[in-house]
Amino acid sequence: MATRKSVRRASGTKKPKARSVSKEPVATQYLLPAGTKAPDFTLKSAPDQSLSLSDFRGRPVILAFYPADWSPTCGDQLALYNEVLPEFQRYNAELIGISVDGAWCHAAYTKARNLHFPLLADFEPKGAVAKTYGTYTPSAGMSGRALFVLDGKGTIRWSYLSPMDVNPGADGILAALESLGRDGRPATQPPAAGAPAKHRAGAPSARPAARTEAPEAR
């Protein structure tokens, strides 16, 4: 099993280090970093429905790019997020999954796994949105496993790329949401009571930036 922390790569306020960190194919471009305006897009959320990122303006958005429906790690990751969903909703955040699979594939996968959040089809032109966000992996023909947390103004506050075969978990997403405050605006004062104190201080990118300090890089 891969040791997660040594292979993780994140972009906070720092630019990610340009080095190969995994045998698995990784995105050849840098992820859009924190502070960048998230490019808008419109993709199919069902065979007869589309969804635009701008529809969610005013609320935090979690974009979860993943390689493919049905592959084992994706299943675990999306199953985990499906389970954590009520926690994301406490921050009024919308979770959106994106892969290059088509809308019919997403529909079957959503039904089979009982998913309660939209999966968008970055299908035609293939991977166009993934390319915009810097998550596309040409050698694999799929998006890498990348996470973005956007604030209510549509600005990326946290982004993170995990190796293809490693489930990144949800702790980084929750820490990023906490740093935004409940309404999706940057927290200028401590969040409402109930939020764990350890995540209150510091810039939104404080924790992810710390993660870029992989042990072997020290």
Binding site: M1, D76, A79, L80, G169, A170, D171, P196
Partner: protein
């Protein structure tokens, strides 16, 4: 490395002495086949390390994938209030293919618990908040799937065969197999 948050406390279901040099914490799902595979491994390691190992089980049910996982977890928590957590935990993992509410009540009866206590707790979701608390503590601690293990508070990312997990525990004991 991800740290276990919160650390072990009296709230946890623990097997083994509180002052054992190694505490192994598992986040598990009673309906997960991989957790079922890990169950005899943990048993063997408890036997191997004896009083040098404390084992703690926390709930991490993926309820949308495993339809019986939430009730199994709640039933084990209900059994804990009757002082029979490990009896229930073991019975469920030893019969992973049969964990309907009816089955769970049967395992409770076998452990000497009034099955009505279990069915009542399941109907009232008495222990659902406690199970969710465990789940969220796992999420916060970096658990992304089951089973996930922590050795003395550090997330363990190696394999969970008896060899790999045993080596990691042995290293944490400082090399002593048994007292």
């Amino acid at each position: 490395m991800s740290r276990l948050t919160p650390p072990p406390s009296a709230r946890d279901h623990a097997h083994g002495p509180a002052d054992a040099p190694v505490t192994l914490v598992e986040y598990g799902d009673y309906e997960c086949p991989y957790c079922g595979a890990a169950y005899p491994v943990v048993k063997a390691l408890q036997h191997r390390f004896g009083n040098r190992l404390r084992f703690i089980f926390r709930n991490f049910p993926l309820t949308q994938v495993h339809p019986h996982a939430a009730h199994a977890a709640e039933a084990a928590e209900a059994a804990a209030d009757a002082g029979k957590f490990w009896e229930m935990h073991d019975a469920i993992f030893e019969h992973q293919g049969a964990i309907t509410d009816h089955d769970l009540a049967g395992y409770a009866a076998h452990a000497g618990i009034d099955p009505a206590v279990i069915t009542g707790a399941l109907a009232a979701h008495t222990y659902a908040p406690r199970v969710r608390e465990d789940f969220m503590s796992g999420v916060r601690s970096g658990v992304s799937g089951t089973p996930s293990f922590f050795i003395n508070g550090q997330k363990y990312d190696g394999g969970y065969d008896a060899g790999s997990l045993g080596e990691a525990i042995l290293a944490a004991t400082g090399g002593q197999n048994r007292e």
